[in-house]
């Protein structure tokens, strides 16, 4: 698939479906080819979808507080699968409870994410970033 293919899903045992629905709609409206793998997706599901579609970015959503546990080793698996260079974003409610955002962001950057988004991120923002990072007009 093309330049504008991105994989989108909610990782782990997380079922929060509303944000995903919103992102899906907004990304499509902005011209992206969205491969939405839905909620309750494993690391493997993401990798498989990215490989199959030749996606240029993976957008991981996690709302329920287990993001840190669910993302352990993800980057390594991506590298193994030959996807070491794929653009990797994550957003949602990433910590359990009220934590300093800096701390959270740092943690997920260490885990290999290129961009980390706080709660209540509006789709416009990620669309802007995606276009920039993927060099799309």
């Amino acid at each position: 698939m093309g330049e504008k293919t991105i994989v989108l899903g909610v990782i782990g045992s997380d079922v929060h479906a509303v944000g995903l629905r919103v992102l899906d709609y907004a990304l499509r409206s902005a011209g992206f080819d969205v491969v939405n793998i839905g909620v309750l997706s494993s690391q493997e599901d993401f990798i498989k979808a990215a490989l199959e579609t030749g996606a240029r970015a993976i957008l991981v959503s996690s709302l329920y507080g287990h993001a840190e546990l669910d993302c352990q080793g993800f980057k390594e698996k991506l590298i193994e699968a030959g996807l070491g260079d794929i653009l990797l974003y994550i957003g949602g409610n990433l910590g359990v409870g009220k934590k300093s955002w800096e701390e959270v962001e740092k943690r997920f950057k260490e885990l290999g994410f290129h961009r980390v988004y706080p709660p209540k991120t509006m789709p416009d923002e990620v669309i802007k970033d995606l276009k920039e990072d993927l060099n799309i007009g």
Binding site: S13, A17, V18, R21, V22, Y25, G65, L69, K120
Partner: protein
Amino acid sequence: MVLNNKKWDEKFWLRMREEVLNTWHTGKDVNLKLGIEYHKSLPLEKQFDYVLKKGEKEGKILLQPRAGVPILKEHIELLKYLQENEADLLPTTIDSYTRQNRYKEAQFGLDESLKEGKSLLNGFPAVNYGVRGCREIIENVRIPVEVRHGSPDARLLAEITLSAGFTSFEGGGITYNIPYSKDVPLENSLLYWQYVDYLVGYYAENGIIINRESFGPLTGTLVPPCISISIGIIEALLAAEQGVKSFSVGYGEGGNIIQDVASLRVMKKLTKKYLEEFGYKDIHLTTVLHHWMGGFPEDEARAFAVITYGTIAGFLGSVSKIIVKTPQEAIGIPTKEANAQALRNTRQTLQMLENQYFIDQKLVEEEEKVIEEEVKSILDRVYSLGEGDWVIGTIRSFSAGVLDVPFAPSKFIHGRVMPIRDNNGAIRFFDFGNLPIPLEIKNFHREKIEERVKFEKRPVSFQMVLDDIYAISKGRLIGRPKVEGKR
């Protein structure tokens, strides 16, 4: 065995029970007899159903927070703190791995939490703690505790927690599947929940009344009242058939006060009616309001407004209990202080509203009529699709779209209904999907939506729905379009 709405055969249950108790090592410690004895030793104040009845008698709306942390000692501290801060009923919210029966991952999360001294799980992994750990909770608090989770298959969880002395258990084969799973067939979850209901019925036969609660809010996001009420009634009927004697139907605040009060009234009235009509006459039925279950404002001052606002509908709808949100809802699992703040805020509001039934009865009744007709027409169809069997009817209805839930992750639903707010903020249908709503009422919805279309001077569209999804978190009930040049 055919899945249908018939009280289980004890032998069938016992056979399945053996399997269930073997799915994790803590299952071995469950002993029904000892569990029942323990319940018998509990003082009345620790019994959920008793406290519900006491509340009704005193005309007091009971308050219950949501709370669960992985480390037992901290969880007990948390509950003790909440019981000193206006909680009448306590929860134990279960973590998401346990909910999906991933006890190994739960164990890993628990171990890591213990090691790092911070919560890495979003709830209390009750199965991993087993009966003994869970009972420590009951021993250390002085009011009743309910298990709150979101598991399509909560059989082991129920066995362990009930045996430990929990006196209420939330969920149901529909409400803990459709919003909480992607690929668990209803056939499975309904069966699993018959198991749980049978277990509760078994306790009842032994003189122990355990409260069962349906999870009314579903996806928490613009769920039209007729949907959650219909599903609540079905879950009540299913539970009653298996022998449950104390049942709570729940409702997630929608935001339009007239519609919310009407919904709460219809929910109580119709659930009672259906239970009686189908021969379940000795059920103690109670109602629950959940403060707004969709996206919250991040700002705590605004979140407090959403909380207080929601309390009004609960009060005017005379519910038995309110499950409170906290000012940190949009941020993450709340601190115990935030939870206590929400409880005190809600109590203050209720106590200021004392005796004040100022709502326009006529407006409520008009809305009640609409909802009542919708629910009846949905349930009629469910019943006839099931050829007189509610379980079969439920399965067939979801696959036909006669029952549907907006924004739900399950792939076993049509997912075609689309809600939208009207110009007064009431939740209407933008798309009815396959719901069997009478034409006249469909027109009513359309007229109501038309008022908004005219006011906002823009057509109905998914953008409008999106605006509604964000609205409360951005400061208002109805997702109005941005006006140029206005802040």
